[in-house]
């Protein structure tokens, strides 16, 4: 195993640079957050740069992956959940699998716990993790990567899931310093494991803060600099999703996406407007409307603020 070479150097760059440098055609990706704090801005940039034949390994990450499927860039999905929660099913995903439009995405079904164990395994540099999920289900019938054993200590059936080691992890955090120490408030999903599991890690963040600010609350540093290759300042980088302490979920915007994407034409129009029609995330924010973004910020801060 190659020992890690990443140091506490200045890793700041633009989103375009980070995507261009680390994402290649055919790459396997994962994303931080958990249907909240997903780095949506990253995916828009991936689509703008047309990186293709991608595989995503993730738990529940529809806002991101439905766009990738619709844009024709996702070759394979190894994941657990592809839906919009209370909003309904995922329109591009359904169209792809049911009708082959614009092509048929390859799917490998997992569960959230199993995926989280795959990242924990890789984070600990282990070949697998055991889990008691999936036993007795048809997930095992179609997913050949899981091995069911009688465990050698207690003799019970146990599922072993292989480590997941994506080429790149994109993780959006509330605060980071320029060397890549990242702090998360709110739920942390599987982010602390994903950053250790992936070969390359890009942090996007709401705020870049001095190292001394990180040290003030060192218990919240879920991501040490030595896991990180790039730090990108992307305020509102999760919109229309929420970012704890920064902005609330934009259910109306998400709903609008969901309705437009019900037809292929509607989705392409949406993509033209909000992705291809924006040179970068700044233009996206302007198009969404800064007043709208600040209204969501105001809403969130009535409920959750970062401790001073």
């Amino acid at each position: 195993m190659q020992h890690n070479q990443r140091r506490a150097t200045n890793k700041q760059m633009t989103l375009a640079e980070a995507v261009s440098r680390f994402v290649f055609d055919g790459a396997t990706l994962t994303f931080g957050g958990f249907i909240g704090r997903d780095c949506v801005a990253v995916v828009h940039e991936i689509v703008r740069q047309g990186k293709k034949d991608l595989t995503v390994i993730d738990d529940s990450k529809t806002d991101i992956t439905d766009i990738l499927v619709g844009a024709g860039l996702l070759k394979k999905w190894e994941g657990a959940y592809f839906g919009y929660g209370a909003l309904g099913l995922a329109p591009n995903f359904r169209r792809s699998i049911e009708q082959g439009i614009p092509y048929r995405v390859e799917v490998e079904d997992w569960t959230n716990a199993a995926i989280s164990m795959r990242f924990l395994a890789a984070a600990l540099n282990l070949p697998f993790m055991p889990t008691r999920s999936m036993l007795g289900s048809d997930i095992l019938k179609y997913n050949q990567k899981v091995k069911v054993i009688q465990d050698p200590f207690e003799g019970q059936p146990l599922a072993l899931v292989p480590a997941a080691r994506p080429d790149v992890a994109f993780i959006h955090v509330q605060r980071a310093d320029i060397t890549g120490n990242g702090q998360i408030w709110g739920f942390t999903g599987s982010d602390e494991n994903k950053v250790r599991a992936a070969k390359r890690v890009v942090l996007t963040c709401e705020e870049i803060v001095p190292p001394e600010e990180i040290k003030r609350q060192a218990n919240l540093t879920a991501i040490p600099f030595y896991c990180v290759d790039a730090v990108v300042h992307v305020p509102f980088g999760c919109h229309p999703q929420s970012c704890y302490g920064y902005y609330a979920y934009d259910v109306l915007f998400c709903g609008q996406y969901h309705e437009m994407a019900k037809t292929r034409e509607g989705f392409l129009a949406w993509l033209d407007t909000y992705v291809y029609g924006c040179r970068d995330h700044q233009e996206y924010c302007a198009k969404v409307g800064w007043d709208r973004l600040f209204a969501l910020q105001h809403l969130e801060r009535q409920f959750n603020r970062l401790p001073a």
Partner: protein
């Protein structure tokens, strides 16, 4: 299709599910309508109910509606904010009492399909591709007991689901779950928009337990694709009380979870949405 009823079916589903949750328990809730059950239970009869979301949120206070388990709202007033794998670990370690799951298909032994409706096709070429397990399989595998929420439709109640996403009692044979290696106790109720079903402790077969007002046994049987057994004394659920309907309204002032697109269209813009949510915040719980 629906007959005229003195209640909105989705509301009745949320309320009847809420009644399955006891004060002091820890409930692991899934996505969508299942979220509402935990919230209204907390408001109505279970103030000490602890809600857990798979994103990593433990013990939130519900001041605004969640559309997903990972919305920042899921963290409002939480007691512990941690990782996905940790709460799944705690689930597997038998710390959680009850789970609430949605389903697209259920079978007579309580197995759930939320992966794909095969139709004329198969797993690889399904008629309808559904979201997949998410945390559903994990919850159904390991939580103390499971409550399943789904609408009654003919194609949804089957002798055998197309695909077992989440195990119920598997083939119904004695100890089938334990033999498979599962930690949790399995489903105890299927709450629908017309009736509540439970499971025979010996045969593990689903039976009709409670009808909603105005629904008949024959109507229920017409939706079920096996020879459905019924309780010796079929109960009738009471109509929702004013207090219960008020709790639902407080939990989702814009009716956005039950009302979906139609309700969203009633909202002028984000500013109205923000105002509505904040009003719920300050005059709510």
């Amino acid at each position: 299709m629906e007959k005229e009823l003195p209640y909105v079916p989705g509301q009745m589903m949320a309320l009847m599910t809420a009644k399955e949750l006891k004060d002091g328990e820890i409930v692991f809730v899934g996505i969508g309508l299942t979220l509402m059950a935990g919230i209204v239970a907390q408001m109505l009869h279970a103030p000490n109910l602890t809600i857990v979301y798979e994103s990593g949120c433990i013990g939130p206070r519900k001041w605004r509606v969640d559309f997903n388990v990972g919305d920042s709202s899921a963290a409002d007033g939480a007691t512990a904010l941690t990782s996905e794998w940790r709460v799944f670990g705690d689930l597997q370690a038998a710390f959680y009492d009850v789970g609430v799951l949605g389903a697209a298909q259920v079978d007579k032994y309580g197995n759930i399909n939320s992966t794909a409706i095969f139709g004329e096709g198969d797993y690889y070429h399904p008629q309808v591709r559904l979201p997949g397990s998410g945390g559903g399989n994990d919850i159904g595998s390991s939580v103390g007991r499971t409550v399943i929420m789904m609408k009654m439709q003919k194609k949804r109640f089957l002798p055998r689901v197309d695909y077992i996403t989440t195990p119920g009692y598997l083939d119904g044979t004695p100890q089938a779950r334990q033999k498979a290696g599962l930690v949790g106790g399995g489903p105890v109720a299927v709450v629908t928009d017309k009736a509540v079903f439970r499971f025979d402790p010996q045969t593990h077969e689903m039976y009709l337990d409670t009808l909603y007002p105005g629904i008949t046994v024959d109507e229920i049987k017409s939706y079920v694709n096996w020879d459905l057994k019924t309780a010796p004394q079929i109960k009738t659920a009471p109509l929702p009380t004013k207090e219960e309907l008020a709790a639902l309204k407080r939990a989702d002032p814009g009716n956005l979870v039950l009302g979906r697109e139609e309700a969203r269209r009633q909202i002028r813009d984000i500013h109205q949405y923000v105002a509505m949510t904040l009003a719920g915040r300050y005059h709510g719980l």
